[in-house]
Amino acid sequence: MQKRNVVFVLNEYNGHGGAQRVASILAEDFVRDGHNVAVLSINEQKDAPSYFSKDIPVQIVQKNGYRATAPKELSSNLKAFRLNTVAKELKRRRELAKRKQEVEKFFDKYGDQEVFVIVIQVWGMQWVQPLLYRPNVKIIGQSHESYIASKASSRYKRILRYYRQVSKFLLLTQKDADHFEGQGFSNVGVIYNPTPFRKQVDPKVLYSSKTIVSTGRLIEAKGFDILIEAFSRIAQDLPGWKLEIYGEGPAEKSLQTLIDILDLNDRVFLMGQTKDVQAALSASSLFVLSSKAEGLPMSLIEAQSCGLPCISTDCAPGIREIVGDYKNGYVTPVDDIQLLSRQMKRLLTNPELFYEFSQRSYESSARFDKEYIKSQWYDLFEEIGGNEK
């Protein structure tokens, strides 16, 4: 196989986050296949662990710890004598210009060799933009959230501004890709996130665990309160079943309070962060995602990779691409506690249905298999590579 140069551009290379995780899975795989991989990280988190192994060189753009703020207009702020804002904006512009040059220098060392730059998060694109016109640099831009979620921030506008000329703009779901195609993008594509592991657990073993599981940062947007409430409605009908939630976050206290109020201390457990997601999933039965907004949730993909049926809120266009409603799981409207509880009960009181959904879930997770996803990336390099321009 041809040896490729691949550079991942991340906001921060270290810390916990779906984007870092996905990038590291791909990066390690590329390294294993003998490719030349590097990471360009805009910022870094202080004293945080990294998913990337020591073999992968990391270059940090803002070594001085500066974090770019949102762009502001100069003249109006100047007129209003908001000098502090003006000073900040001038600094932002100066920093951006300087760092852009450093980024250019970083790529100078590749000479005329072909480099594939994978911009994992939209924010990083502003530093990489000057590379667009280098014939040896092929930029692949990604957005790791649904277009609806990105509209809530400046990211959607950034996509419209920066991603129109990249060699490929990758979305996580076909629905997102269709949306941007409708916005006049002619460079969109879809590659799913790879699952870091994939090993089926016998559906009967899963069922016998009698555990509903969910993972994610404990924040309001993940809707764990909905899940706990939904469970409380059916706890009586599901004797012996428990709910385990893995993750840490600011909402921990309020969730614990909710568990106390509902008197479910012996049924619902906040498990904290786990190092071994696969083990936690393999020891559970049913995965429930109760989020309000997502991209293509890794957690659902990981759960299916262990053979867990999933019930998910319809919190992103991609959910229905993972979970087949009434086929291998259920999809319920966001915040509909009643329907969520009814579907959980339906599945858990019907072992035959559970086994069927479990088997189908595992089968459907083949689409997220690491090797398969990797081959799609190699096809993409093949497609956009070459100096025909």
């Binding site: 016109y133 419209l160 000329q165 002619s186 009434y326 409207p333 009643q338 329907l339 009814r342």
Partner: protein, 887 residues
């Protein structure tokens, strides 16, 4: 068949009728959503329409231990929703009734909210929000379900007709019973009839903006539900059957007045579903479709049902209505950029229409188009320091191909600078980039079609393959660029820091169109100050045609004065001073600028040919010389057939009161000017200063004009100067066609100089003109053109009076003489006094141009015309005016 019921029991408040047919996947969910309702006092009747799957068993199992639930199993499948729902109504007793379909579900408090709403309002029925599960959007949320509406009537809120669902509503049983309102059995689309009738039968109904009903929309479902099988013709037929029942009801119920509202919903909702899919139907379906929709439309509506619809629907439905099947298919093809059977798009008077071959007269008002379709593709983009080149393909859809001319243009949005393509033939375009300034040059396709210019901004999807190209020279980088709105541009950016800063500043300046804040504040004070300054006795301010030209009598007075009165200071005002060249020592000012005002209030003399008196109040010691701009033919001022409004007359008085001298070309005009302008001041009957040149015929001017148009001496020149017909938007197209005909028919040694009104000249690019037609519309001074013209073709213009002085042939081309006379009115009979032949068609005109012999017959007429109107022109009019005014 039914579970036993205690007859002594008081009827429940609410009955919910659930219908199910082969819903084994979802029926439990539907029933559970009812079982969990926060409302207690209710009964549920589940009607199984002879399902062939496990639905029946699931229902029985579910209702077995629930006293509020009962099941009814029909003995045979009814084929629709009506029979099961009616059965459910018959098997229940509750005061209120709601419906639920077996694959949908209620929100947890749907029943509670609906019962509360109907009890609170006392309405006959109440509607709640429906959520579709494919996108979680609420059915007609914005137009209907955005707010609570209490006790409304369909006749005041016809928008409600768009919600023809029956399941999202709670009904008073007494309302259903008293009106014998039931679902019509044996048809599909029962909701159209049931809900439609309910709206018109109800005294009042209400709406609550709360979600109550989840409508499960399964995308890519293997089996489409009844309402989705649009590809079978029976589906369309059934919908029409339902609508006919509703229509019949409206007639019988005395609500025919509201048929139009109902039609509107039918067109915008129901019919649209089928026209959207039309291209996928087979031939047999299409034939039946046209037949039925034609029949149905003519039953209940006329063509004006479409007049207010959006363009696409209006045209589609109108073509269906007049039974133009081919036209309809062509229109759909047109919208998809597919070939049409004949060219369908045509222009008339600057507007576009879709052509129908059907008989009849009033088609155009229904077939007018604003949105034209263009197919454009670009490939093989190349960028160098010198040029942007690419291969292209462009078609304006469904026109006669030879009528459109395509050219490319790059436009710098920041500076307005424009670059035109050098070669457009052969599908290759080259846009030179040698002289660029910083900014984004957006790429446009210009399509010139029948005198209409269409500008098409190139967006990225048009470009098959977009390479990220960048080239640099010492000062600028040029790169291909797509902006956030997907428009394509060549971005030119300065490379040096200093240039970049200067560019940013300029960009900012250019962005603010308003005058600077200093100027705004300063201007009124300055004007006040200027007004108080003394009048300069040797300053003369000139203006011609509101600053648009350096021409006409003011020009000739100025040129004469330059020589005879060099001690004076001369000022000319122009709209665009930099664009006009004026000989001699002269101050050029921008019209209506502060500087212009300064000279306006300080110059003792004003020389003008239209009117500048409204710009400031003329002071006592200022002198206004009004030269006017032509011997009158059409009636003016107070002489007009229809007297102008008081306001216009007041404006005219402002001008005439300010005039101190009025220059007249002949006694005929003198009489008219006095009367038409009610002008009592001094008239200088000197002949026109502008005609001095026509009498003198200076050789150097003749040579200058010939050089300007690159005319070789042996060419015969015809000056074609039609007037502007502001009442007829078609006249421009007519003129263009005439030009084409002229170009093809005049002899080889003839060149036509085209002189159009300035409003029209902007619409015509020299590119569109054949080589033997020269556009002289923007040439500053028409008098100079006379000198090189061997003959003149005009219609009602005062040009003929001036040109007649040369006693060269004049052909009058007055194809619309009657209309002109009736609209404008003339001071004398043009046909009788005409200086040459009066032609009614361009062919006649051409015959005269090509046969000068024939024209000689009109020499006596021309001579007497020149005598009558040019008797006092001796080539020294300017001198006479100057002597009188400047003493």
């Amino acid at each position: 068949m039914t579970n036993s019921m205690n007859i002594n029991q008081k009827p429940p408040k609410l009955s919910v009728v659930v219908i199910a047919y082969n819903n084994e996947l979802y029926i439990e969910e539907a029933l559970e959503s009812l079982h969990e309702q926060t409302f207690e006092d209710m009964e549920v009747c589940v009607v199984n329409d002879f399902s062939t799957d496990a639905t029946g068993e699931l229902i029985d199992k579910f209702v077995a231990d629930k006293p509020k639930f009962k099941a009814v199993h029909l003995k045979e499948n009814s084929g629709g929703c009506s029979t099961p729902r009616n059965t459910g109504i018959a098997h229940t007793t509750g005061e209120y009734v709601m419906f639920l379909d077996g694959d949908d579900w209620y929100t947890i408090d749907a029943c509670e909210k609906m019962v509360a709403a109907i009890e609170r309002t006392g309405s006959d029925f109440v509607g709640g929000q429906v959520i579709r599960t494919n996108n979680y959007e609420i059915w007609y949320q914005r137009q209907i379900y955005n707010m609570e509406r209490t006790n409304i009537n369909i006749r005041e809120f016809s928008m409600m007709l768009f919600d023809s669902l029956s399941v999202n509503k709670i009904y008073k049983r007494s309302f259903l019973d008293q009106n014998q309102l039931r679902f019509p059995e044996g048809i599909h689309y029962e909701d159209i009839v049931f809900t439609g009738k309910a709206y018109f039968l109800a005294d009042s109904f209400s709406i609550i903006p709360e979600p109550v009903y989840y409508w499960r929309v399964v995308e890519n479902a293997d089996v489409k539900s009844i309402t989705n099988r649009r590809f079978e013709f029976d589906n369309f037929k059934n919908r029409i059957v339902a609508h006919r029942l509703f229509d019949a009801f409206l007639r019988e119920h005395g609500d025919i007045l509201y048929q139009a509202n109902k039609n509107n919903k039918f067109l915008r909702h129901d019919l649209k579903l089928y026209t959207n899919d039309y291209l996928e139907f087979d031939e047999d379906y299409k034939n039946k479709f046209h037949e039925l929709i034609y029949e149905y439309m003519h039953e209940v509506m006329d063509a004006y049902a479409f007049i207010r619809l959006p363009e696409k629907e209006r045209i589609m439905y109108y073509l269906l209505y007049i039974g133009d099947k081919q036209g309809f298919q062509d229109f759909l093809s047109y919208k998809e950029h597919l070939p049409t059977s004949i060219p369908r798009v045509y222009s008339k008077g600057g507007s576009y229409y879709f052509k129908t071959t059907a008989e009849g007269r009033n088609h155009e008002k229904f077939l007018k188009m604003e949105n034209l379709e263009f197919s454009v593709s670009i490939d093989s983009l190349e960028l160098t320091q010198d040029a942007l080149t690419f291969d292209w393909n462009a078609t304006m859809e469904s026109i006669t191909n030879s009528e459109a001319y395509y050219s490319w243009m790059l436009k710098n949005r920041q500076t307005g600078a424009v670059i035109y393509s050098r070669q457009t033939s052969g599908g290759k375009a080259l846009l030179p980039l040698n002289h660029v300034v910083p900014g984004n040059y957006y790429l446009f396709l210009n399509v010139s079609h029948q005198g209409n210019l269409h500008r098409y901004l190139v967006k990225k999807p048009v470009i098959a393959h977009l390479p990220n190209l960048r080239v640099k020279d010492s000062t600028y980088s040029r790169q291909l660029f797509i902006n956030n709105k997907n428009s394509f541009a060549v971005k030119v950016a300065p490379l040096k820091k200093k240039d970049q800063a200067a560019w940013m500043l300029n960009k900012r300046k250019a962005a603010s169109k308003e005058p600077g804040i200093l100027e705004k504040v300063f201007s009124p004070y300055a004007k006040n100050f200027f007004k108080k300054l003394s009048v300069k006795p040797n300053w003369v301010l000139f203006e011609s045609h509101m600053g648009k030209q350096y021409s006409d009598s003011p020009k000739y007075i100025y040129e004469e004065m330059r020589k005879s009165h060099p001690q004076y200071k001369f000022i000319w005002s122009f709209e665009n001073p930099d664009a006009v060249e004026v000989p001699g020592n002269v101050v050029k000012v921008k019209r209506r600028s502060l500087k212009h005002y300064y000279y306006l209030v300080r110059s003792k003399f004003w020389v003008d040919n239209q009117g500048i008196a409204h710009l400031t109040r003329k002071k006592k010691d200022q002198v206004y010389v009004q030269t006017w701009h032509g011997t009158p033919l059409k009636r003016m001022g107070y002489d007009q057939k229809k007297l102008p409004s008081d306001e216009e007359l007041a404006k005219l008085r402002v001008q005439t009161n300010a005039w101190d001298y009025f220059v007249s070309p002949n006694p005929y005009s003198t009489e008219i000017f006095k009367r038409a302008f009610r002008y009592g001041g001094e008239i200088i009957e000197s002949g026109y200063p502008r005609n001095d040149i026509v009498i003198q015929k200076p050789q150097d001017v003749i040579q200058k004009v010939k050089n300007h148009f690159r005319l070789s001496p042996e060419k015969k020149v015809v000056l074609f100067a039609p007037t502007f017909r502001d009442w007829d938007p078609n006249s421009f197209q007519k003129t263009l066609r005439d030009i084409q005909t002229l170009s093809q028919s005049v002899s080889e040694d003839t060149v036509v100089l085209l002189r159009l009104h300035y409003l029209l000249s902007e619409r015509i690019g020299s590119k569109d003109l054949p080589s033997n037609i020269k556009n002289a519309s923007t040439y500053q001074d028409i008098q100079e053109l006379y000198l090189i013209a061997d003959s003149l073709v005009t219609d009602y213009s005062s040009v003929m009076f001036d040109y007649a002085l040369l006693e060269r042939p004049i052909i009058l081309y007055t194809y619309d003489l009657e209309e002109y006379l009736s609209r404008r009115g003339t001071y004398f009979d043009l046909v009788e006094k005409a200086p040459g032949p009066v032609c009614r068609s361009i062919e006649e005109v051409i015959a005269f141009i090509n046969d000068p012999q024939k024209l000689q017959a009109f020499d006596p007429a021309l001579h007497s015309f020149a005598e009558e109107f040019g008797s006092i022109e001796d080539g020294h009019a300017a001198q006479k005016v100057i002597e009188r005014v400047f003493k």
